[in-house]
């Protein structure tokens, strides 16, 4: 032991220096990593969005106002779960997603600031989509479900009766995909509501319906031939049919409205809420709506809820039978319906 102690006398400067260098490097690397992980520039506004055209809108907003806006994109289901988990300590200022049932649930939990929606030139339909407490703004709408099928198997699914009885059909899982819940609610609704409509869904399950995690996954299954037809959100379905002629879209009768909604965090300081409210107004400006309609993302295919501008790329909504499911009724049943769907349909 004495031999060892002799070797560790402080005069062994070379080793000490190397060890200190190693320790310093390790410390510096660790600190550097931690610092680089943290986002030090606090943006003027944080937007959580599942809408595909959000990046273009954010860029336009930053260009015009000079304010630094940060965009976090995720699926609607993940977005709602994330803002529920952040609860009253939000790291977001604005949320923008699809489905007013989710918006009603968040509003009931006290997460949305009320009275932040601007007065605009709403269409009659747009006016019906506005909540009484003005806690969220309808930013347009798509259809929760359209029929998409392979052209070589065309006309097998043209209406809901055929959809409920066909084989090799797919839809997104409402537990993971926000828009899919509105579709499910609509399908139940036209079959007698809840719980009477369960039998139609059970028939689809018995026919081997594929339930995929997202609309994108449903489309992939259709592209790979795993299924012959799908019920998908209109924007995704129409976009695919326009780029790939092997697929055709049929609009259902009735078609379920899926409103895009945007809202402001209730628990942010007043100054940030003010900036966020400005952004809600910005989204709905006619020139910004035109910008959204000319984006490359499938979500450009939305119907506006203000009188100007008009959507040139989609059929006139007046020619369709549209059905808006009450978010107050169906939003309140969401857990029960999804739970049943998971147990009896997904299995």
């Amino acid at each position: 032991m004495m031999t060892l102690l002799r070797t560790v006398r402080p005069n062994n400067r070379q080793r000490s220096a190397r060890m200190r260098l190693a320790a310093t490097l390790l410390f510096a690397a660790s600190v550097g990593c931690v610092v680089s992980l943290e986002d030090h520039q606090i943006p003027d506004m944080v937007v959580y969005s599942s809408v595909g055209t959000a990046p273009a809108v954010i860029s336009a907003y930053t260009r015009e106002t000079g304010r630094r806006a940060s965009l976090v994109t995720m699926s609607t289901g993940a977005l709602l779960a994330r803002i529920s988990a952040e609860a009253h300590h939000p790291r977001w200022d604005v949320v923008w997603f699809e489905g007013d049932d989710g918006a009603v649930a968040m509003d009931r939990a006290g997460l949305f600031a009320r009275g932040t929606v601007p007065d605009l030139d709403w269409t009659p339909l747009g006016r019906t989509l506005l909540p009484a407490d003005r806690s969220y703004e309808p930013t347009g709408f798509t259809l929760a479900g359209v029929f998409l099928e392979r052209a070589d198997k065309a006309h097998t699914v043209q209406n809901w009766t055929q959809a409920f009885n066909t084989k090799r059909i797919g839809m997104a899982d409402p537990a993971l995909s926000g828009p899919a819940y509105q579709l499910l609610a609509g399908m139940l609704s036209i079959n007698g509501g809840w719980p009477a409509g369960q039998s139609a869904l059970l028939r689809m399950a018995a026919n081997g319906m594929l339930v995929a995690p997202s609309n994108a996954a449903v489309l992939t299954s259709l592209l790979t031939g795993r299924i012959d037809s799908a019920i998908t959100q209109s924007s995704a379905g129409i976009a695919l049919s326009r780029t790939d002629k092997r697929f055709l879209v049929a609009l259902p009768d009735p078609a379920f409205i899926l409103p895009g909604v945007a809202s402001v965090a209730a628990d942010q300081p007043a100054s940030r809420r003010h900036t966020a409210s400005d952004f809600l107004r910005f989204i709905m400006r006619p020139d910004i709506q035109i910008l959204r309609m000319h984006d490359t993302d499938a979500d450009r295919l939305f119907w506006p809820v203000t009188n100007s501008p008009a959507q040139p790329d989609l059929p006139d909504p007046d020619g369709m039978t549209l059905m808006h499911l009450s978010p107050l009724i169906w939003g309140g049943r969401q857990a029960e319906v999804i739970d049943w769907f998971q147990r009896m349909i997904v299995r």
Binding site: A87, W92, Y181, Q334
Partner: protein
């Protein structure tokens, strides 16, 4: 000595005690508080950040998921025993060429994330030859999940089996050779003696299988076979969010683990009662041809099933798809890899540092410090029994408001990674620290060496290799960590595991395979760099090791 100077002389001791208490408080806040708060949620619902958005709880606690979890865990527990026992026997009792290779394979299986193992097999089963075959139908069902859980559990069960074969000892075998004439009776006797260890292997595997998240979140979710660990995650991260339900399901998992570990403890006592006294270490014999063939067959099978086949499948799939703008992976995936590298590096350094402080405290002669260190050791080890998904949920609830609003920040993910991997570092470093003679540091202190001099001159040169290996092990597991990452990652900045899972869920298998491959190569490169660079920089330059060895040889 005046009263004032006597008081001043107490200040260093006081500061040391305060530092110890502060350290203990930090550990309590990081480990105990989140778990207690989360598991108390069903009793005190107001502890949740948000009440359930509607009446989800009245629809029950996913009895299907609970039954699936129990059934599949038992099946995996039974299935792991035969290969586990055989591997243990081959590693402990037989001398053959492939022993090292088998050990390395088991380590590779242990470190391979279960979701990557699943992805590899999914790619294999999707091959045209197998796509519509019986194998594919079996794989996309209960059999596939149990198969993957069994493969993942092989490393741990082989370790337990090895201990069992070691404990049996040479004496018992010699006695059985002398007193029991027929071979089958001798084997029956050994089987009975091994029964407690078999039970223990099953229990450990059952706990591991019930807590696995990677297989549950990939194959389990895909074939719609819900397992509790994934349902907990769903309650936290999909709509509708229900914290109380997640907490109740977590309690179910914890109770299941406690039951299994209680049974294991009872079996352990039974084993101690059966095999008492001092045993001679058994001699490893050379293999007969049949045994040798069996050994190589088993080694090859484990390698193929756990490492080779899934890795090759990932590599082939990764190379077959088109590159993204001339790059192997897209910008988002590069960012995810870079994030995981940084998370892994810092968490591994922090976990190893904390483990060294705790184990160093145990070496101290002072009674208070040693007791505190043992308590911390016990607390952090208990954390090992808690699956990542529950720890993630606990952190989400505990650090989501008031003074500790860390949810959604990288800091919380770092904290969670460190807390969850500290027990691994502690277990890994336990033996190297225990082998250090306490007198070494004491003697140096008596000879006037300061703490930094003792660290530089004695502890670090002797411990730098185990510390580096512990760092590497924690780094690799954090780099691919899934459940904590999935629940706690800051919005918009997913780490590698989350990115890989989302690519898999959206059925972008080629991109997923490419990102996994690039991730693995990057991880391996950084690990090798760390393992070479740190001992090189911090290692001895004047033969301290040699001197120390000479001292030991001289019995000094």
């Amino acid at each position: 000595m005046t009263h004032a100077s006597r008081l001043l002389s107490h200040i260093p001791n006081l500061l040391t005690s305060m530092a110890r208490l502060l350290f203990a408080a930090l550990i309590m806040v990081c480990f105990v508080y989140p778990l207690v708060r989360f598991l108390a949620l069903p009793l005190i619902p107001s502890l949740a950040p948000l009440p359930p958005l509607d009446t989800a709880l009245r629809h029950g606690l996913s009895p299907i998921a609970m039954w699936n979890t129990v059934r599949l865990s038992i099946e995996a527990g039974f299935l792991v025993v035969p290969p586990g026992l055989l591997i243990g026997f081959l590693l402990e009792r037989r001398r053959w060429l492939g022993r090292g290779f088998l050990s390395v394979t088991l380590w590779a299986v242990f470190l391979m994330p279960s979701y990557l193992l699943t992805s590899g097999w999914q790619i294999l089963v999707a091959m045209p030859v197998l796509a519509d075959s019986h194998i594919s139908r079996l794989f996309y069902g209960e059999a596939g999940i149990v198969f993957l859980l069994t493969i993942k559990g092989l490393a741990f069960s082989a370790m337990s089996a090895r201990t069992g074969w070691h404990v049996l000892g040479e004496d018992l075998e010699a006695a059985s050779r002398m007193h029991v004439r027929t071979a089958w009776r001798r084997w029956w006797l050994i089987a009975r003696l091994l029964f407690p260890i078999v039970g223990s292997m099953m229990m450990v595997q059952m706990v591991a299988a019930s807590q696995d998240f990677g297989v549950a979140a990939t194959l389990g979710a895909q074939v719609h076979l819900p397992l509790v660990s994934y349902v907990i995650y769903q309650n936290l991260s999909t709509i509708p969010v229900d914290f109380s339900r997640a907490a109740l399901l977590s309690l179910f998992l914890v109770c299941l683990a406690l039951l299994a570990l209680g049974a294991q403890a009872m079996l352990g006592r039974s084993q101690a009662a059966t095999i008492g006294g001092r045993q001679h270490r058994p001699v490893a014999l050379s293999c007969r041809p049949v045994m040798l063939a069996l050994a190589w067959l088993l080694t090859g099978s484990v390698f193929l099933a756990g490492v080779g086949a899934p890795q090759v499948a990932l590599a082939v799939e990764g190379m077959s798809g088109p590159a993204v703008h001339g790059s192997l992976v897209d910008a988002g995936s590069w960012r995810a890899i870079s994030l995981s590298l940084r998370y892994g590096f810092v968490s591994a350094v922090a976990a190893v540092l904390l483990a060294a402080i705790i184990l160093g405290g145990r070496m101290r002669s002072g009674k208070g410090g040693a007791v505190l260190a043992r308590l911390l050791l016990w607390l952090t080890s208990a954390n090992m029994a808690v699956p990542g998904v529950i720890l993630g949920a606990s952190y989400l609830i505990a650090f989501n408001g008031g003074m500790l609003a860390l949810y959604g920040t990288p800091m919380l993910l770092l904290l969670a990674y460190t807390a969850s991997h500290l027990p691994v570092a502690l277990r890994f470093l336990d033996a190297p620290f225990a082998s250090l003679h306490r007198g070494l540091g004491e003697a140096a202190r008596v000879h006037g060496l300061s703490l930094s001099e003792r660290l530089e001159g004695i502890y670090l040169p002797l411990l730098i290799r185990p510390l580096s290996w512990a760092w590497a092990m924690v780094f690799i597991t954090v780099f691919f960590e899934l459940p904590l990452s999935e629940i706690l990652y800051p919005a918009g900045t997913p780490p590698l595991a989350v990115r890989l899972l989302s690519l898999g869920i959206s059925q972008h298998y080629e991109a997923q395979a490419r990102v996994a491959l690039v991730g693995m190569v990057t991880c391996l490169a950084v690990t090798c760099l760390g393992l070479v660079l740190v001992p090189f920089l911090a290692g001895p330059t004047d033969g301290t090791d040699t001197t120390f060895k000479a001292d030991k040889a001289n019995g000094r």
